[in-house]
Symmetry: C2
Subunit: 316 residues, 2 copies
């Protein structure tokens, strides 16, 4: 084997992936990578025993498949150190990462937060200052519908960006691996912009489907809720300008168009609400609101949505 300088090794070496949180996102993207022949190691919680025996089932509108056998683990400290860790937990569980991540890391591991919201890489970097951190934004409609069973309803693209600019080649390699697995994956030079773009969709649809106890399609069809969605998107677009980027009104138009075409959908926050699980209010609402406020812009309707969500969650 020819020995290359360290920095070139990733080009020819297969990446070792860890999936932390094998749900709607981790199950799907990890499953696709594994199904395409990548070396993927999945951390499971309650589904471990089932998946060990039955495998991980992905029902996708693009073609269903079963990953079997699965490199499944119940404890992070039984897992190998990996080159790329895709963190697909809900942000509310990120405090668990301080225990979960250390066994999975070597000095060049990239930790990718495939999560919604803002400010999460910053938070993680305070606990893992020597690791390379990145973010992943998934534009996908998927759900975990049973033990070891993921449903993929629509879309599926994912966009990656580096938190502090390191390891961009490795992230591009991740994109290539995903593309080979049939996923539309993209590397962005601007993680902050990618996160604000995703917020343009997440902020109106996640919160309003909970507060109005409904689905995306119903809100898009009724003129008042449609107008409210648009006004909330405009607040997020405006806030992005105060926060070192500008996602632009055109992007909001695209999100409206995409949601019109989308299968009727309950976003992840609505699924959490229905299951009486904690909602990701901090990452999706509080952090963007406070970031924009510090920069000089008050997202008034977004704040009202946050307040309504806090009230609703207080009644659980």
């Amino acid at each position: 084997m020819i020995i290359f300088a360290d920095s070139f090794l990733w080009i020819i070496m297969k990446l070792k992936y860890a999936i932390v949180g094998t749900g709607a996102l981790g199950g799907f993207y990890g499953g696709k990578l594994a199904h395409s022949g990548q070396d993927v190691h999945f951390l499971f919680h309650s589904d471990y025993e089932f998946v060990k025996v039955n495998g991980l089932k992905i029902d996708s509108f693009n073609g269903s498949f079963l990953v079997k056998p699965v490199n499944a683990y119940q404890q992070a400290n039984q897992m190998p150190a990996c080159d790329v860790v895709l963190v697909c937990l809900k942000t509310n569980n990120n405090q668990l990462l301080r225990e979960i991540l250390p066994p999975l890391l070597h000095k060049d591991t990239v930790i990718v937060l495939v999560q919604n919201g803002l400010g999460i890489e910053q938070e993680l970097s305070t606990h893992f200052p020597n690791n390379s951190i990145a973010g992943g934004l998934a534009f996908i409609c998927s759900s975990k519908i049973g033990t070891g069973h993921i449903a993929h309803y629509d879309f599926g693209s994912i966009k990656f960006g580096s938190y502090q600019g390191e390891n961009t080649e490795k992230l591009e390699q991740v994109c290539n691996d995903l593309k080979q697995a049939g996923i539309k994956a993209e590397f962005s030079q601007n993680l902050n912009e990618a996160r604000w773009q995703k917020l343009v969709w997440n902020i109106p649809y996640n919160g309003l489907t909970v507060v109005l106890n409904t689905t995306t399609d119903r809100m898009m069809k009724q003129p008042d809720s449609r107008q409210l969605i648009w006004e909330i998107m405009m607040e997020v677009v405006e806030a992005s300008k105060y926060c070192s980027t500008d996602v632009g009104e055109n992007f909001a138009h695209k999100m409206m168009y995409m949601t019109d075409k989308m299968t009727p959908y309950a976003p992840s926050m609505k699924v959490d609400f229905d299951a009486k699980r904690p909602m990701e209010i901090q990452a999706i609402y509080t952090n963007p609101i406070q970031t924009a406020l510090k920069a000089g812009y008050n997202m008034k309707k977004v704040s009202m949505l946050e307040q309504q969500l806090h009230f609703i969650q207080s009644l659980y």
Copy 2:
């Protein structure tokens, strides 16, 4: 009998009252007037037969009573012309007034809209340009809880104001009659101010109890919803300044204090929502929003609440 000049007649003559809409408000105030010996004529809809036989029952925290017999009517054209018509319908039914009112009116009748919201006297005056119109703002917690059966839980004061400044003596006489019946009644020189004052309470509590599917006390106890109530009140206070009055921040503090002391309560809009009846969105939200907007102020959170209510009502 000594004959006085017309304008003095009201001082010594007993007023003849008509109650249009014998529900939570009409049943209570009309019932109190009748119980105290006033000449009150009630228009009933479905409760007519029952009340004719069983009377009108008021369960009040201040003392319960039965009005029996009741001057009950099923058709407005069977009723006598009256000096004062207390309109206690929901504003959504105000189009019915064009048919109901004419038989009840003589040339000096005062039509009093004991209703919430803004712009309703103006609307009525286009159809009854030759009649004296007034407004009544009830600060009361009451409900119709059964056929011919009203429950009065808390408070009970009422404030009257003339729409165009006429007939103030007759309205003061109405106040006196109500006071004699044990009601805290007040005449205001400024109906516009009184309506905006009432909106400071109505706008946050009516809409939010529907959208959050809850009661006043729960929202007051949870910090985020409490803060949201306050912010919405501040929008209404600010709007009032653009609309020829200023209800003032102190009034909002009073409303917060009063609601803290209040029996847990579902406002009328929540009662309508639970019964899947149309909500008074136009009078309580749309009219104030548009009035303020024309005057140069955008009540953003109030508008969001209106949009949410429209969506919720569209699902009925």
